[in-house]
Amino acid sequence: MRLRQVVRERAIAIGFSLVDQTKVVTAASELGRNTIQYGGGGHARVTLVESGARRGLRLEFIDKGPGIADVSLALTDGYTTGGGLGLGLSGAKRLSDEFAIQTAPGQGTQVTIVRWKNA
């Protein structure tokens, strides 16, 4: 997936450690797959963010799919409606420093994660 390369390049550019690169690329892979598989496709945006001296990457995944009725259920390990392992959303949350999800039935889904560079 092209997305993984872009995220990897940005993560290297701002000096993420190898482990942090791997975590953020893996999270991007999980969320990108959700966007395609459940959201029926959409787009992803990768942004450099700064807060004081901290730098990090913000990744947004936006689809116009069916949305999620019960977010807390969707964030439960092992819960899936698509025959996967049910680790995509919950795993991506664990791999991120910040995690936000905006969704409603029929309204599509937007997932935003931030991973900060460790000092």
Binding site: L18, T22, S29, E30, R33, L85, L87, G91, R94
Partner: protein, 117 residues
């Protein structure tokens, strides 16, 4: 169609995953490998993932599936060469690859398969 090569060494099959795995390639590998286990009467499958810099839940599931399918077909699977950063990320993601044998490198993986046989 793009395929991952499967090499035979005696009663073992050796798969080296060198490309960034996309989903269709992973599914093709499952099909090819199970067919080869039967055709070559293989007793072991060694999967070298040392080139992979990302293993997400899809690839992790494929590895677990291959190990389970192999066992049902009377062959053992060993996954070798996982990078440290990948191991850290996999566990944090929530995947522990339960039931999948691992070894640090190809040499140790082959030794493990020889013992099992």
């Amino acid at each position: 169609m793009e395929r991952i090569p499967i090499l035979r060494m005696g009663r073992q099959l050796l798969v080296t995953i060198q490309v960034d795995m996309h989903d269709q390639l992973a599914l093709t590998l499952q099909d090819d490998l199970t067919a080869r286990i039967v055709k070559d009467r293989a007793k072991g499958v060694l999967i070298d993932i040392s080139s992979l810099d990302v293993v997400d839940s899809f690839i992790g599931r494929m590895i677990s599936n291959i190990a389970n399918m192999s066992r049902v077909l009377d062959a053992q699977t060993v996954v070798v060469g996982m990078r440290p950063a990948v191991a850290i990320t996999l566990v944090e993601l929530g995947l522990d690859l339960a039931g999948v044998r691992t070894a640090l490198n190809v040499e140790r993986g082959m030794a493990l398969l020889a013992q099992v046989e």
